[in-house]
């Protein structure tokens, strides 16, 4: 829904529009300046608070939860990973990353297949679609409670690598499929038909034509899968069993820990998120660039 579509915004249209809205040559209407201010304010409010806690996490042992900054050290990062009182952060971190990898792989594969299916109507497609939307908007804790009770009735102990995977997929898959919709709407069936005409089998067509063309979109799906799983809270709450994932650990800390180690954890987890985002967006950009350079000159 986001990255994939954003990359494909028709190039010329924005420029034309700006010209249409501001017809005078070079002149900007007053609304431009007002809206620029709104935009700058929004971005500042979006990033400002986050930057504050990153800065505050580098205080020394005297540090508190608010400015001014007291000293400069890595004390709270060490504290985070060595203190018992802050819980098993290392283990939670480890589990969250593994869980996110499992969920990402399943999200990419399942969303891709569902995207293929939804290109044409098939009997009962509406049911699948609205089940998916239902799964997306259903309150996370309600589903979490339901999965927990279900496991209880069946008599299986829920764990982060079984029930939590399923509960998270019920959240990441609808997002993944929505991104696939956006990606698929720009996929030209003619390429696929050309492959069939040349004698390719269905599997060969998917492997050698469809997947390479859709690759940037699939990376975007992976980005959604990983980050939504890695930060998922409500649906994991009743389904992860006895061992915490990182968001559950952070949640416990917000209620118990009133030291900058909470901020340190915020900094660490955000660095991971940013790394993933950078890798995914970088991969998409590289693919687009290579693709552009491969187009032969007419």
């Amino acid at each position: 829904m986001t990255a994939a579509q954003a990359v494909n915004v028709p190039a010329a249209s924005t420029a034309v529009a700006a010209h249409a809205i501001a017809p005078r040559a070079g002149g900007r209407p007053w609304t431009f300046y007002v809206l620029s201010a709104v935009f700058v304010f929004y971005v500042a409010a979006l990033y400002g608070p986050m930057i504050c806690i990153y800065i505050l996490s580098f205080q020394d042992v005297r540090g508190g939860l608010v400015f001014p900054m007291k000293g400069l050290s890595l004390h709270w990062f060490v504290d985070l990973f060595t203190q018992v009182r802050t819980g098993d952060v290392k283990g939670a971190f480890d589990r969250s990353v593994k869980l996110a990898v499992i969920v990402t792989i399943m999200t990419v594969v399942f969303s891709f297949l569902a995207g293929l299916a939804f290109r044409r109507r098939f009997a009962g497609d509406g049911i699948v679609f609205y089940l998916m939307i239902g799964s997306l908007v259903a309150p996370g804790l309600v589903l979490s409670l339901g999965v927990g009770l279900l496991m209880h009735f069946i008599g299986i102990e829920g764990t982060w690598y079984t029930s939590a995977v399923g509960a998270q997929l019920s959240w990441t898959l609808p997002f993944g499929v929505l991104v696939m919709f956006a990606v698929m709407s720009r996929f030209d069936r003619a390429w696929e038909e050309a492959a069939y005409d040349l004698g390719a089998t269905r599997w060969q067509t998917i492997r050698m034509v469809v997947i390479p063309i859709l690759a940037p979109g699939l990376v975007a799906v992976a980005l959604f899968g990983f980050t939504l799983s890695y930060d998922e809270f409500a649906r994991t709450l009743q389904t992860a069993g006895s061992l915490n994932t990182l968001p559950l650990e952070i949640w416990t800390m917000t209620l118990n820990v009133t030291s900058p180690s909470l901020y340190a954890l915020g900094t660490v987890t955000t660095i991971i998120s940013f790394l993933i985002i950078a890798i995914c967006l970088g991969t998409i950009a590289t693919m687009q660039k290579r693709r552009a350079s491969r187009v032969p000159a007419h």
Binding site: A17, L35, S111, A114, F122, S135, A138, L169, L178, S273
Partner: protein, 287 residues
């Protein structure tokens, strides 16, 4: 051929269904069933059908308060995220002239969506606190003499945290809807002598309607289904429907938790259905 298409379609969505059936449909049904059970008080369930759990919900004055409170936050969050989201999207689509810059700025807005919500929420503490940056700044310039108490651990902080987290859900669909508006329509309107207000009222607003509806579905369903923002940011001052549900779960009162989960799910479904009446979501998403 048609039968073949159908089989193939279902084959492709079967992994999706294999997730949705056990992890969406079944849990909802289990919650529905549990809501008619009785609790033995120790986390066990007595399968003796009763309406007692629902009677308690509808006769308790607390329920009305919880819903009033939750709906108040939902409306406030929806209103502010819509206003901000609409103008940010409008700015990016119609005012930024370089398409590359527009995409860059759009991505700048979306990046925090892929980071932890809880961390983004607690990051308001050093700003809004009694000794936070905003109070310190206001004290220094002499605008106030006492620190403002209402900034943190209050309804204000709850709305700030929600708008901070959820405006992106407005920006993305509205941005997509606006980016699809044929710019020649706008030019034609200008040529025909329309004012900029007319263009907004008669072209841009109607054509972004679907995006607004889609964003509203996200914002409304997320705020209605959330509890940790209200719990942390109100400092315990405000309660929420899901918060109360979670307390029930905490004391192992599964049947009453399930009953309030059912009521909440019905309310959210009705709100979403109300929004869906104004827009064909499927057409909007798949075209």
């Amino acid at each position: 051929m048609a039968a073949r298409e159908r089989i193939l379609g279902w084959l492709y969505v079967s992994p999706l269904m294999l997730v949705l059936l056990p992890f969406f449909v079944a849990p909802i049904l289990v919650v529905l069933a549990t809501s008619f059970f009785q609790s033995d008080g120790f986390g066990g369930l007595i399968a003796n059908p009763t309406l007692q759990n629902y009677v308690e919900i509808f006769t308790s004055g607390l329920t009305a308060n919880l819903y009033a409170e939750t709906i108040k936050f939902t409306i406030l969050t929806w209103f502010f995220s819509l206003i901000i989201g609409f103008w940010v999207a409008y700015f990016l689509v119609f005012h930024v002239r370089s398409p590359l810059l527009a995409i860059g700025l759009f991505l700048l807005c979306t990046v925090p969506f892929w980071t932890s919500n809880i961390i983004r929420m607690i990051s308001w503490i050093p700003l809004l606190g009694k000794e936070g940056l905003i109070n310190m700044a206001l004290l220094r310039i002499g605008a106030i003499h006492e620190p403002l108490e209402f900034l943190l651990f209050s309804g204000f902080a709850v709305v700030v945290a929600y708008v901070h987290q959820l405006t992106i859900f407005m920006i993305v669909p509205i941005f997509n809807a606006m980016a699809r508006i044929d710019k020649r329509v706008v030019e034609a309107a200008l040529d025909a002598g329309a004012s900029r207000l007319d263009i907004m009222r008669m072209i841009i607003l109607p054509l972004s309607k679907n995006g607004i509806a889609l964003g509203s579905i996200f914002v409304v369903s997320i705020v209605m289904g959330d509890f940790f923002v209200i719990k942390v940011m109100s400092g315990g001052g405000s309660a929420s429907v899901v918060g109360a549900l979670y307390e029930d779960v905490g004391v192992l009162q599964y049947p009453s938790a399930a009953a309030s989960a059912v009521v909440l799910t019905i309310v959210v479904t009705m709100l979403v259905a109300l929004i869906l009446r104004t827009v064909d979501v499927r057409k909007e998403l798949t075209r």
